[in-house]
């Protein structure tokens, strides 16, 4: 995860990109104004999220290594 985050972060640094994907899970209902609320699952890959992938991956691997011990 740390390596994947690093690759995404460097890639985004060199050539910024942003995209997101959504998968519809359920339709919750229709609001009085006509809007339909939809429950979705998805993911975002942009500058901020790639930085967070990197941070979570690196810090997570550090804690994992430290906690595992020798």
């Amino acid at each position: 995860m740390a390596l994947y985050g690093a690759a995404l972060l460097i890639g985004n640094w060199v050539d910024p990109f942003a995209f997101e994907r959504h998968v519809e899970i359920a339709r919750i209902g229709v609001l009085p104004g006509g809007h339909e609320l939809v429950l979705e699952w998805g993911w975002v890959v942009d500058g901020l999220s790639t930085m967070m992938y990197f941070v979570v991956g690196v810090v997570g691997s550090f804690v994992f290594t430290y906690a595992k011990g020798t």
């Binding site: 959504h22 809007h35 429950l39 906690a67």
Partner: protein, 145 residues
Amino acid sequence: MKGDVRFTWFFAAFSLFAGGMLVLVSSPNTIQLIVGWELVGVASYLLIGHWWEDHANNAAAIKAFLVNKVADVGLFIGVIISGLVVGSFRFTDLLDAVEAGDSALADVGVWVGLALFVGAMGKSAQWPFHVWLPDAMAGPPRCRL
């Protein structure tokens, strides 16, 4: 953690914590953000109370969980109001509504912002939700994520 009585359990809880963080940071909508937020909260509870034979650790875990739940009410209120007003839970739709100067959102914008801020205050242990953090240090060397 080498030689710990629940060596495997620690890494299972820690993986849940890291997974919850990834769900949180990759979420494109506020509902998924809540799912990741709560996964992190549950994993925190499990990690703080890892050595539950010691009553202090057990109490610290329950304290952290309850304080976070109180603050999470703010997060829920903010997400529900913004979702109902804008008609979508996507961040992009929320930002579009803000940029477009949505009058309905403008009416409740401050309260939505404050409610979301209360949720963040709980998770980041800001006053008055700071009380759980010192006790949480009783747990194993978990992440400072």
